[in-house]
Symmetry: C2
Subunit: 419 residues, 2 copies
């Protein structure tokens, strides 16, 4: 594992609103929204002529939209034809991979400026169809025929964590509560409401309808009730991320070139990627992701940083248990100790290590192939001090990380950003 | 467009037999066949511990096999877990893109040794299903709903070429005849028979069956008969490449590292990639591919070579017309002049510029996502002087090229190899 031969910087980042957009918007529309939003974020402006290549992360436009070959299609929409354009896939880590390959391409000297994006339009299919498509990121010879869809696979991982470390359903609920509190402050999020506010709204609606008002004293009461049905025990509805249409776009440049676009580039000092057997039954551990550990190891080594140096992190909370496991695998907390830190509020916006200030996949939404690029958008905003509403952290963010997981941990990409 | 910051070399290459393998073999089996074949080709041997990452080109395992997330799955089968593993997609140029990204990654200093592969298992679907899946590489908002499948799109391009340059159906037939003559000499090819031999076999069979024996004096008679039905006018069956299951694997290293594996590495001195609008109606020309021209321009510039320097080339003959257009767009012949050269035998094995000595996609087969890597396998063999049977060219190949096209020219990747 070598060092980057050349410095790389992030000079712009933007995203479409995440949400349920089909049929009003499809991949091309979402991509253009993200592109325009990212263009606006570049201090000195950026034009197609400035850009050398177009890297697109996408999980399965094939199955979601019956459209492959997204690279040149997206490039053509924004005037990048005939430049190189390609699609990168690693399940829900697809745009994390696109980002990593762009970092590598700039370091190689082949390209100076790359538009990196993630796009996914999931709601063209009904929910059962989406669940089926996502299941193709598991092993379709072993897990899929056994009926194991992703909520079931993550429920297995949660059960193992509960068994080994005494983690509880309530511990997981705290992750969702925090992420919705953050998402409520993000105008680009799919769900912009805290769980407490949802509870209050629901009570009010019951009252107006003359129905018996549930006896919920706090969010936990609400989350333990039938209002939050079990999806795959021990995971309930609010332990699962959302089905989302959305896109995100990043402008990456070499460090020298960055000066043309901004006086305050964000350097990318670490990239790591790891893999694991797709099937859970092929793994040594159900409470830790080897792909996360490996990618974190590489990224820390490349940047020279240690877990304690990271000030904020966007982690891949496709399920609440995934956030818990990530916080441990990334080295922020010892195995089994993350839930205690979460309980103490350490991962809240005003805590010692704010996690998923964007709202995470849980509240911001999870357009699978776009999620990795979406994380970098939040890191960009927090490091620039421009996060909307009330979610900007109160200190100067000099060192940040994003963690993008694919499938049930078959792929992981970790990126480290520094001022 | 910069230079590679570091030299890159090809030290091993191998492939599965191309053919109709499903259900006996699926992607995992084909990939292992290719891997083992490539391992055998490395002079000093290679082991998983020597390899830093696994890059997989694949068009649509999603639609062909209901399996996504191929990177970590393939990596795990050969002992590469937990190393980085990703899938790259650009329609039929998918493994050309994987190869290019691997070249870039080695040049960047991040990786020293990469296993690059292409895999595709198409025959899990019936032919109509395959045609449908391939059509998702066209524009699914415009071309696909109009019923334009790939034979139709390439028939349109052929008609335009006929109109503009006076190219004829017989000109195209010569491409197929030549490629089948080459494929007959390739033990890994799907169809290992010359068209003349097919004609003779067919005559014999008719004779044995007591049926009227057709009055075919040569291959052209045969190809103009109902034995070669029109698929999409002016293209007939033998103008179309094959539906194939197959995989190919390449070992790429930095130039320094190459010494560990062989005394005769093949240097990769040029890589270029271009894109175009997916839809034909969005293009300026129907007789030239802008993506090919752009990728060739980049690759020539990077390597410092000119078209006249290239001694052999594997070009993307998904349809016979595609080979004609490629020979022109790559700068080997002026526009409209390639068919004359083909007629003169220049592109045959013993001609001035042997093209598709492997048999090409037409005869070797076209497992779409594997075809780009498969081209590099042939280049490797020809440059090493180890091409099987009677297809080794009679001179020392010092400079070669591969040309991998995606869709109806939406993507192109060109690679230049030198001793």
């Amino acid at each position: 594992m070598g060092k980057l031969a050349k410095g790389v910087a992030l000079v712009g980042a933007g995203m479409s609103k995440f949400g349920n957009h089909f049929p009003a918007k499809r991949n091309p529309d979402l991509w253009i929204d993200a592109w325009l939003n990212a263009v606006e974020s570049v201090d000195n402006g950026i034009e197609p002529k400035d850009i050398d290549a177009c890297y697109v992360g996408n999980y399965s436009s094939d199955l979601f939209n019956h459209q492959g070959h997204l690279g040149p299609q997206m490039a053509n929409l924004v005037g990048l034809t005939p430049k190189p354009a390609a699609r990168f896939e690693g399940a829900c880590a697809s745009s994390g991979i696109a980002l990593r390959q762009a970092i590598i391409a700039i370091a190689s000297g082949v390209h100076d400026v790359i538009a990196v994006s993630g796009v996914e339009c999931m709601t063209e299919l009904p929910t059962a169809g989406v669940t089926d498509v996502l299941a193709t990121a598991s092993d379709s010879l072993f897990e899929y025929p056994a009926g194991a869809t992703f909520p079931g696979l993550y429920a297995t991982l949660a059960s193992a964590h509960f068994h080994k470390y005494g983690t509880t359903a309530e511990d997981l609920m705290r992750v969702g509560i925090k992420n919705h509190e953050n998402g409520a402050e993000n105008p680009y999020a799919q769900m912009q409401q805290s769980i407490k506010d949802m509870m209050i709204s629901k009570k009010k609606r019951y009252e107006e309808q003359g129905r018996e008002v549930p006896d919920w004293s706090d969010e936990f009461d609400f989350l333990k009730s039938s209002a939050n049905p079990i999806i795959a025990s021990p995971l309930r509805l609010f332990d699962c991320s959302l089905i989302t249409d959305g896109a995100a776009c990043l402008f990456l440049t070499s460090e020298e070139k960055a000066k043309d676009f901004t006086d305050t580039p964000i350097r990318i000092t670490g990239t790591g990627q790891g893999s694991a057997a797709l099937s859970l039954h092929d793994r040594d551990s159900l409470t830790s992701f080897i792909a996360t550990k490996e990618s974190a190891r590489q990224a820390y080594q490349m940047s020279g940083l240690k877990p304690k140096d990271i000030q904020i992190c966007e982690v891949h909370d496709c399920f609440t248990i995934a956030e818990v496991v990530a916080l441990e695998d990334l080295g922020f907390y010892e195995k089994g100790k993350a839930v205690e830190a979460i309980k103490n509020g350490e991962t809240k916006r005003d805590g010692a290590l704010p996690i998923n200030t964007s709202g995470g996949l849980k509240s911001k939404g999870h357009p699978v192939g776009a999620s990795g690029a979406g994380m970098a958008v939040e890191i960009f905003k927090q490091m620039r001090g421009i996060a909307e509403r009330n979610r900007q952290v109160k200190f100067d963010v000099e060192k940040a990380m994003s963690h993008n997981l694919g499938g049930s941990g078959g792929t992981c990409v970790v990126t480290i950003y520094q001022k």
